[in-house]
């Protein structure tokens, strides 16, 4: 029971983190048609900048400064690069962000080295939030959850209560309509791209010290966030939210349980002396490919995604 | 009596809660030239999109040459002998003019997805494509990329690509859209030439074109057909005149 609850909390924390990344990605993708390969790079930059700024000013200022810096960078990337690539179509835009992600990874290695940096949870947030029997839930995980939920609320208010939010919502389902609304579309694009980058960076700030801050973190996170967007359904923030939680919780449970088909058979009283390798794999071993298996299943049985508003 | 080339029964289409096509019944006998006219927003293009299966119908039934095709995919309907053109030019911009037409003839000639035939050795496909180019007046532009043709040339190619496959039911969506008077006259002559002996259904705004070309006309207003008849009958129909709000059809 305690295992179940703690694992669930861990899973939700991870899922919310995924949503901080996938919300920005899905907004950018649905509105501008750009699959932003560099999205996870912004996440990584957030973590590294927080480490750097935090070393000078402490964690709390870094929590604010790092996302703002990365957000400005994201806006600049949209203005100076993506828009230029746009002349040559979506493939060029995508390849531009692909090249950018490559460059960012190299830059990070250049500045901070190839090994992980010592980015730590601040002392004020170190320790246990509560203890259930013998298992404790770290205070910092609780903090991550609080930040994610605050961001979720902020995003919800921004999208439902502001004029720009109205344009964004309209463009999710009918991208071609936005032009007709007579809004300054390029500026909205820059804003969305920059905000998406800032959100990704915020995720990096709060996750970099809970997990690990290293040059490979973007390449590890990127594909999973793409999967979240496909599983959730294009153009659907709700779908991205659902898929984030689903994948977060499912993967956390799989990592935490060392169980295989063979074990199941044993428990049912069946002896399996030489089971095939596939049956011997434990859930933990399967955890890394679970998101992709889920994606394939969704593609076959529900091509629009869980809550997709449109096919393309 | 043989089955009509095209038959629509109680066809409806809604986008979200908005009904666009509100129960259309239509029969086009084989060999007829049929025009669909109506004010802007009446649903003419939507009707075409339903017949060619670009959009699924909400309800109703569509028959092609006596065979139900409701719910089929566009390529299946094409293989049963219906081909359409588009109001906004819809060609293959990075292929040559010749290859645009050749692509249209490869499937019906049975070469399909073959990767064991050499294209340039397929004399029948080449001759058929060259004949079409000759007839649409683009033989001299054979090796030009279709994307750099002039507008009128692209429209001609659009018609060429549509009829090249030999489909016997042809749907043309505003073949003269955006053309000058003289260009339009040429386009009408082209349509007449290219659809000889076929069933033609066309959407058109230009009344001159419609009354000169069509055997029968249907008037679509707010998703319903309010009248069908010969050009003379349509001219004389008071409901039609009212629908066009004084913009008298009789003057055309």
């Amino acid at each position: 029971m305690e295992f179940l609850l703690i694992t669930l909390l861990n899973g939700v924390t991870y899922g919310l983190l995924l949503f901080m990344l996938s919300s920005g990605l899905t907004l950018i993708f649905s509105m501008m048609g750009i699959l932003n390969f560099a999205h996870a790079s912004f996440y990584m930059l957030g973590a590294y900048l927080a480490f750097q700024v935090g070393a000078r000013l402490g964690f709390w200022p870094a929590l604010l400064v790092a996302p703002l810096l990365v957000g400005a960078l994201g806006a600049a990337v949209e203005r100076l690069g993506v828009r230029k690539a746009h002349r040559f179509g979506h493939v060029a835009e995508l390849l531009f962000t692909f090249g950018l992600s490559f460059l960012v990874e190299e830059l990070v290695q250049l500045v901070w080295g190839k090994a992980a940096v010592d980015y730590r949870v601040p002392p004020s947030l170190d320790g246990a939030a509560f203890t259930l029997f013998r298992t404790s839930f770290p205070l910092y995980k609780g903090f991550m959850m609080a930040v994610s939920l605050a961001m979720l609320l902020g995003l919800y208010l921004a999208i439902t209560r502001t004029r720009v939010g109205l344009v964004i919502r309209a463009s999710l389902t009918r991208p071609e309509m936005v032009q007709a609304l007579g809004h300054d579309v390029p500026r909205v694009f820059t804003l969305v791209f920059g905000s998406g980058a800032a959100l990704a960076a915020l995720a990096g700030v709060i996750a970099g010290n809970a997990y690990v801050t290293e040059p490979g973190m973007a390449a590890a996170m990127g594909p999973i966030v793409f999967v979240v967007v496909v599983v959730g359904g294009l153009g659907s923030l709700g779908g991205a939210f659902l898929a984030s939680l689903l994948i977060g919780v499912l993967q956390t449970f799989m990592v935490a349980s060392d169980f295989s088909v063979v074990d199941l058979a044993r428990r049912l009283g069946l002896g399996v002396p030489d089971a095939p390798a596939l049956a011997r794999l434990s859930l933990t071993q399967l955890a890394p490919i679970m998101p992709y298996l889920l994606m394939v299943a969704v593609l076959i049985f529900r091509p629009r995604g869980l809550m997709g508003a449109r096919e393309t | 009596m043989s089955a009509p080339a095209l038959k629509l029964s109680a066809v409806r289409k809604s986008f979200g809660r908005t009904p666009i096509i509100r129960g259309v019944d239509l029969e086009v006998p084989a060999g007829e030239r049929h025009a669909i006219i109506g004010p802007n927003g009446a649903g003419k293009s939507t009707l075409f999109n339903l017949v060619s299966a670009r959009f699924p119908v909400s309800s109703g039934r569509i028959e092609l040459k006596g065979e139900e095709v409701t719910g089929r995919t566009p390529h299946e309907i094409n293989r049963r002998g219906l081909c359409r053109s588009f109001q906004i030019t819809n060609i293959f911009p990075h292929l040559s003019v010749f290859d645009n037409v050749r692509c249209a003839v490869l499937w019906p000639m049975g070469y399909r997805y073959s990767f064991w035939h050499r294209l340039s050795a397929l004399r029948d496909a080449r001759e058929r494509a060259e004949e079409i180019l000759e007839r649409i007046g683009l033989a001299a532009r054979r090796d030009t990329l279709a994307g750099v043709l002039s507008y009128a040339e692209q429209r001609a190619l659009e018609i060429g690509v549509t009829v090249a496959g030999g489909a016997d039911v042809i749907l043309l969506d505003e073949p003269t859209a955006g053309m000058s008077r003289s260009e339009s006259d040429e386009a009408v002559a082209l349509v007449r030439r290219m659809t000889e002996g076929k069933t033609l259904v066309m959407v058109e705004h230009d009344m001159g074109v419609v009354f000169g070309l069509a055997d029968r006309i249907s008037v679509l207003v707010y998703g319903q057909i309010i009248a069908t008849g010969t050009p003379a009958e349509i001219r004389a129909n008071p409901a039609v005149q009212e629908a066009y709000l004084g913009k008298s059809v009789a003057d055309a």
Binding site: G81, A92, M295, L299 | T73, N90, Y113
Partner: protein
Amino acid sequence: MSGVPPVLNRRRLLGFGGFLLVIAAAPLVVSHGYALSLFCQIGVMTVFALSYNMLLGQTGLLSFGHAVYFGMGALGTIHALNAVSAGARWFPVTLLPLAGGAAGLLLGLVLGAVTVRRAGTTFAMISLGIGEMVAASSLMFPAVFGGEGGVSGNRVTGQGWFGVTYGPQLQVYYLIAGWAFVATVAMYALTQTPLGRVANAVRDNPERAQFLGYNPQRVRFLMVALGGFFAGIAGGLSALNYEIVTAEALSAHTSGAVLLMAYVGGAGTFYGPILGAAIITVMQVVVAGITKAWPFYFGLFFLVIVLYAPGGVAGVLQLHLRARRAGMLRRLAPAYLAGAGPVALLVGGTVTLVELAYAVVNRVEEGTARLRLPGLVLDSRTAPPWIGAAAAVLVGALLLRVVWKRISGRWAEIHAALAAEGRS
């Protein structure tokens, strides 16, 4: 109107004859062992990049997971090789890449069915996910994938025929070159078939293709499967070349590399990916030997291509060939000459800046704070080199802006002249 044109016209004879001559003569001109292994790698990558372009250039499918076919082909070949070595089966080593092709084709048939529902950005995303899935599963089945260490084999089995044992690297080179030539001809031939042309049509306008009776999903599926076949052959060649296959072969990194080759070389032409494979392989080997910063230069080079030459190297080449045919290449010369200075400043300044930065970082590890250039030693701890390099970049960029106007003006004239000619 009548008569079938011959298979070998003058252009093809020149193109493929030249290609054959180059690959046959390359090891005779430069026979250094280092160069030979470089040529082998270029041969493998040529086939791989061409197979990638069957998707990107010909069918309009941007894949981020093409390495899975390459990796599967390599694995299929190495396992087949080991079965042959163990005497379990008899099969000539020369034809073993076919085993790789079969593995790639099989995987293409399976994965193609799931991935081709949609094209464009969605396909890109899905291909990435599928690629990650296959790469991640490779560590789960060590019996097939060899785990961390990979699967190794020995291409020398038995006595060989007429002294061909594939022991010496030169023999392996001719094996790869022979396969590369055959595969290239086969892939070119494919572009000249109904399927090849309809794939172009689906790339240009899938909707219209559908209204002409073609099923775009079926066309994409066939192209993915056939592309998998040729990628598998490339993988097989790489397995025979290195005699080892690791998880790297089917990783996202390899998928990215082949995308770079095809795009930088030029996806819009058939021969572009061949150029790309050669250029990037040489860069990887040669530039990496000179500077540690090569991935950075590589990224910059790629971004410049994406933003300023989306047709790749072949696209730029094609443009100049057209200008030359129109006899207008000479008009460009003065503008290009004027551009040479600013470009040199910009490139030189950028390189110096990057190298200085790398020197600063590596100082801690290796004690090399100084940047040694021929006849010049720059100390990264002092300000002047930094200021000088930054100034060079700035001045170069500003000057280039001015010259660029002149160059694009000339091109506008040439385009206008060419268009007028095409119309008459």
